[in-house]
């Protein structure tokens, strides 16, 4: 079953078309990374799913149930962490989580257990002072705890690691990763390393629609593809080597000048091995062989047109 299905979602703010035609599917019990440049519409999408904003068209289903603006039934399956969570400053974290538990319909006994667990997991154990004294990082941790209270089936996190130090970031990613088998997680981020670390699937939002949606392994394959720069000692050697390499599948010469040529290959590692072998067979020494790999960042920049 799909945990989250979005079909033809549209949203505009006055003259700005934030989301034009978004289709998205998030499998159950997976971790989905939601990428996009600033202003792409990630936060808007999450707010529409949680019923905080009204869409201009399209449909959203959460575990097969329609999610509509102003209706709260589906919200009870969702835990939401906004990018800058705000709480009641006069409460302590336990009190706020208790409030959330009551809203979620959790029994007091179960709430006490969950709160104790979550406070320890997010690293707020022993902090009994009021939320108004918390740093941004501490509020972010509390935000994660409140998103998890009530055992929601779907967690939407809007940049959950943005305000955290490196240690905090790793802890949060670990928390989200550990939820994998029980809960579906959708989180938006700019930190591509976080995506690589824990996501099963990635969607890149650009120009109001999903420009790319792939599994992380497919993305990593893409990032293994790239270019190879080869430099020989003379032009004859270059031509001779190119003629032989031209017989092999999967190579595409993109630049060819003087003693240097660039090849595009799906798998640069394999390609480098093939080039070395071919050069050895022809007894042609190579002055330089360099793999210019496409990182995930390069993939992202390419997809978002930057």
């Amino acid at each position: 079953m799909q945990a989250l299905t979005i079909r033809s979602l549209k949203k505009s703010f006055k003259n700005v078309h934030a989301i034009i035609n978004l289709d998205m599917n998030v499998p159950e019990n997976s971790v989905y990374g939601f990428l996009g440049k600033n202003g792409a519409g990630k936060t808007t999408t999450m707010k529409i799913i949680t019923g905080l904003l009204k869409s201009d068209g399209g449909e959203i289903e959460v575990f097969g149930q329609p999610a509509r603006f102003g209706e709260t039934k589906v919200n009870r399956m969702i835990g939401y962490l906004p990018d800058v969570p705000e709480f009641y400053g006069y409460m302590t974290s336990k009190e706020y989580l208790s409030l959330c538990a009551k809203v979620s319909g959790v029994t007091p006994a179960e709430a006490a257990v969950q709160i104790k667990e979550l406070i320890a997991v997010v690293g707020l154990k022993g902090i009994n002072r009021r939320i108004k004294t918390y740093s941004r990082g501490m509020k972010q941790r509390l935000g994660i705890a409140q998103a998890l209270i009530g055992s929601p089936k779907l967690i939407l996190c809007d940049e959950p690691t943005s305000a955290l130090d490196p240690e905090g970031r790793l802890e949060v990613l670990q928390v989200l990763n550990n939820l994998r088998e029980r809960v579906t997680v959708v989180f938006s981020t700019h930190i591509l390393a976080d995506v690589e670390r824990i996501c099963d699937r990635v969607g890149v939002l650009n120009n109001g629609c999903l420009a790319m949606e792939k599994s992380i392994s497919e993305l990593q394959s893409m990032s293994m593809s790239g270019r190879i720069r080869v430099e020989t000692y003379d032009e004859d050697a270059r031509s001779h080597l190119l003629d032989s390499l031209g017989q092999l599948p999967g190579f595409k010469v993109v630049v060819d000048k003087d003693t240097t040529f660039f090849l595009e290959a799906r798998d640069t590692k394999e390609a480098a091995v093939s080039i070395c072998k071919t050069a050895a067979d022809l007894s042609l020494p190579l002055r330089r062989l360099e793999r210019l790999e496409q990182s995930l960042e390069d993939v992202f920049m390419e997809v978002t047109g930057q």
């Binding site: 019923g51 905080l52 835990g79 906004p82 800058v84 969570p85 705000e86 009641y88 006069y90 959330c100």
Partner: protein
């Protein structure tokens, strides 16, 4: 109703922890006691001022003795202006604050019905106004009866209820404005403006008969028996209608608000 009681519990904690309840109680009690004292000492003060005025020292002037009606008049004047001003400023834009801070968004995203948040904030304002008003009136009543034991007044309940309903109306207007405006300016400024501009409607006899302001300006004349209670029916009904309409409209609009 479960959600409503959970939210109201949160509101009670907020009132206590932010000291709003204490501040309102202290101010209202002070206004109440001040009203009685002002009524008692106004003739004395006027006499002293008269005697100190140059050229008047040899003259005699009789000032009417203070009565219970004077005490209640001061009460309604002070509570109806300063007290209501305070209530509107502190509670008139409660919903706007929840929206702006994002605290409402987090709870509604979790499944808290929007009508609970809306009515909860209104109920808090109405509750504080009611309790503070009754507390202040209780003190005023006790002091007035103590200082003016043989001075009964007419139509006390009607008079007190009228002023109370007037305050409720201003809070309800602030409530519906909270669902329209994005900042506190409108929900606080417009009811305050109404507090001072509604009396202008009294210039036209037709509107004066139905204006909610009648409840404010005639709270004292009712006590003195110079105005008939049946004249209060029309403004009561109009004020009640404004309250109900504002509440229904406010809840409907908040359901449509994007958070």
């Amino acid at each position: 109703m479960r959600y409503f009681s959970v939210f109201m519990h949160k509101e009670m904690v907020e009132l206590w922890r932010t000291s709003k309840a204490l501040i309102v109680a202290i101010v209202f009690l002070a206004l109440s006691i001040m009203s009685v004292l002002l009524a008692i000492f106004t003739p004395v003060i006027m006499q002293s001022v008269f005697e100190m005025t140059p050229g008047m020292s040899g003259e005699t002037q009789t000032w009417p003795e203070a009565t219970a009606v004077d005490s209640y008049a001061q009460f309604f004047s002070n509570i109806g202006q300063m007290g209501l001003l305070m209530i509107i400023i502190m509670f008139g834009a409660g919903l706007v604050r929840e929206k702006r801070q994002g605290t409402a968004a987090l709870l509604t995203a979790r499944g808290l019905p929007r009508w609970v948040v809306a009515l909860g904030k209104l109920t808090t304002g109405v509750g504080v106004w009611t309790v503070a008003y009754l507390l202040a009136f209780g003190v005023c009543l006790a002091c007035t009866v103590f200082y003016f034991p043989d001075d009964p007044v007419d139509h006390m309940v009607l008079s007190v209820t009228g002023m109370w309903l007037y305050g409720i109306m201003l809070l309800c207007v602030g409530f519906v404005l909270s669902t329209i405006f994005k900042s506190s300016g409108g929900p606080v400024g417009i009811p305050i403006a109404l507090l001072f501009l509604l009396p202008i409607l009294d210039f036209w006899k037709t509107t004066a008969k139905f204006s909610p302001n009648w409840l404010f300006t005639n709270s004292v004349t009712l006590l003195g028996g110079t105005v008939a209670p049946r004249d209060a029916l029309a403004p009561f009904l109009v004020t009640l209608a404004i309250c109900l309409l504002s509440v229904c409209l406010g809840v409907f609009l908040f359901k449509e608000n994007e958070l």
